[in-house]
């Protein structure tokens, strides 16, 4: 079934250590340390949730100012796309 929201590329390597992920793009060899918010977002990005649904979850779980989080999250998803860490999706809102 095609992904409906942001979806981690299958070949991307990652491990969560104490709530913080180390993410490796094997094609570029680049290493990305994610903070707890980015890590949660990454865990949720399995293709089954839309970008907005993920953002809503983050706002709820981290009790942060909604507008600020939304803005940061959009930038974060943009970065994930640019760095080839997530794959293009169908119908992400």
């Amino acid at each position: 079934m095609p992904a409906t929201g942001p979806c981690r590329r299958p070949e991307i390597a990652w491990r969560v250590i104490d709530g913080e992920a180390i993410v490796v793009n094997p094609r570029s060899g680049l290493v990305y340390p994610f903070n707890p918010v980015a890590t949660r977002c990454w865990e949720l990005a399995d293709g089954s949730r839309s970008e907005e649904a993920i953002i809503d979850t983050i706002v709820e779980e981290f009790d942060a100012p909604a507008e600020q989080v939304r803005q940061d999250m959009r930038g974060f998803f943009q970065m994930l796309h640019e760095k080839g860490l997530i794959q293009p999706t169908q119908g992400s809102s």
């Binding site: 299958p10 070949e11 991307i12 390597a13 990652w14 491990r15 250590i17 104490d18 913080e20 180390i22 993410v23 490796v24 094997p26 094609r27 570029s28 060899g29 680049l30 290493v31 990305y32 340390p33 994610f34 903070n35 918010v37 980015a38 890590t39 940061d72 999250m73 930038g75 974060f76 970065m79 760095k83």
Partner: protein, 429 residues
């Protein structure tokens, strides 16, 4: 695959002599974080052997929602401190088999599987045993997984294991191979697998020399073809050489050939180590002191980087490798070791869960925990060569039976480095 500088490609990074095409050679024993990092097109794709605390600056781009690069660097540094504190085996090396289709004269592997003519009735882990092990390693926090052998491609289930490791358990894979079994179809599957790198042994600049070392005619041509197949599919290839008596005269040509073939990095080591059963016969291929000096003093492929001498009290504070803390090695028979060189078994995964083995208190663990710096070792704390020495506890153990003893090959190399360093210093001064 023979003793191809395994250490320099693994978690420890202290064993080999990384030589970076177009980059300064490292003189310190920085731990290798990843086999390769670098923004394609930014001229940095040759950066390898990223040493913790030394090379982060070059390797870590803006990350996640941290928009400032210094924040990202600091985040990674902090994460690695946690990894060390919690003894997470972030770098894990599994030899899937010691069976091999070549027979390198300097190989350190002693296969024990009687079905392959080995001396004992030890059997390689089955597919299901490896899969179960990968589950446990992922739970333990392992991320960078090196799969090697023997020749790993002789295992019929290699792709089943590798895809499970990558797609189901999200490991970053590095593969070591002799390159001779890679054909078009395999190269296609490897491209799909997307390992961080495939490291291949290059043991001569000509078929005559390479094939004589691996004792299989036609191997050199197959290696050259394999590198082409992998590179044309965008797979990162690292060629590496054990420099020894039979190929010393081609040292420069091998580095040039690696560059021509498109190796992202060429890595060489002058360490020919005893076999893993303690047999020291292979050490006859080690370079002489004069050859070592000659090799280290060359300007090609990269000139010796001068290191300002520091007082002994300061030099001996240098940290030793992270064996038994952030790296581990598992043999084809399921034995767990602190690293590929320190062959004191901590237990077997056929008897106990990995976590239980890794976390169990033991004399070995206590001993390793007591060794944080060179100053904690009886011979090293007064040694005049400590600053430029890259010792290995495991090889000291294989040489002498005492992991805290002086590692004699490191002493020979440290003497040569000290001489070269002094000469470069005089020239520069």
């Amino acid at each position: 695959m023979g003793a191809c500088g395994s250490c320099s490609g693994g978690g420890c990074g202290s064993g080999g002599t990384p030589i970076q095409i177009g980059k300064p050679q490292e003189s310190s024993a920085g731990r290798v974080i990843w086999s390769g990092t670098g923004e394609p097109g930014a001229g940095a794709d040759q950066i390898i052997g990223v040493g913790l605390g030394e090379r982060l600056e070059q390797s870590v781009p803006n990350a996640g929602i941290r928009v400032e690069s210094p924040e990202a660097k600091e985040a990674l540094r902090r994460l690695f401190m946690k990894v060390e504190e919690k003894k997470i085996p972030l770098w894990t090396h599994i030899d899937l088999t010691y069976k091999c289709n070549t027979d390198c004269i300097h190989c350190y592997c002693q296969h024990l599987d009687s079905s392959f003519g080995g001396a004992y009735d030890k059997k390689d882990l089955t597919t299901q045993e490896v899969i179960h092990l990968l589950d446990q390693l992922a739970d333990a926090g392992a991320l960078n997984l090196t799969l090697s052998g023997g020749e790993l491609f002789v295992r019929k289930d290699f792709f089943e294991i590798a895809f499970y490791a990558s797609r189901e358990k999200h490991f970053a894979l590095t593969l070591y191979s002799n390159g001779t079994l890679i054909n078009e179809r395999m190269a296609d599957r490897l491209a799909e697998l997307a390992p961080v790198a495939i490291e291949i042994s290059l043991l001569g600049a000509t078929a005559e020399v390479h094939d004589a070392i691996v004792q299989r005619p036609g191997s050199f041509d197959r290696v050259v073809r394999a590198v082409g197949l992998l590179r044309s599919r965008g797979i990162s290839v690292v060629l590496k050489t054990s420099i020894m008596q039979p190929n010393f005269h081609q040292a420069d040509e091998m580095a040039r050939l690696a560059q021509t073939l498109g190796s992202r990095t060429y890595r060489s080591t002058i360490e020919i180590t005893p076999r893993n059963d303690g047999n020291t016969g292979v050490m006859q291929y080690q370079l002489t002191d004069a050859q070592m000096l000659d090799y280290l003093a060359r300007d090609f492929p990269s000139p010796w980087p001068y290191t300002e001498p520091v007082p002994l009290e300061e030099a001996r504070q240098k940290t030793t490798c992270g064996t038994g803390t952030v790296a581990c090695y598992i043999s084809p028979y399921g034995d767990v070791y602190p690293c590929i060189q320190l062959l004191i078994s901590m237990g077997n995964i056929r008897d106990r869960a990995f976590k239980e083995i890794w976390e169990a208190p033991s004399d070995l663990r206590r001993k390793l925990e007591q060794i944080q710096s060179y100053g904690d070792l009886p011979d090293c704390k007064t040694c005049e060569y400590v600053q430029l020495c890259n010792r290995c506890h495991g090889l000291a153990y294989l040489e002498t039976g005492d992991l805290t003893a002086c590692y004699k090959l490191a002493l020979r190399m440290a003497k040569a480095k000290t001489q070269v360093n002094a000469a470069v210093g005089t020239q520069q001064g």
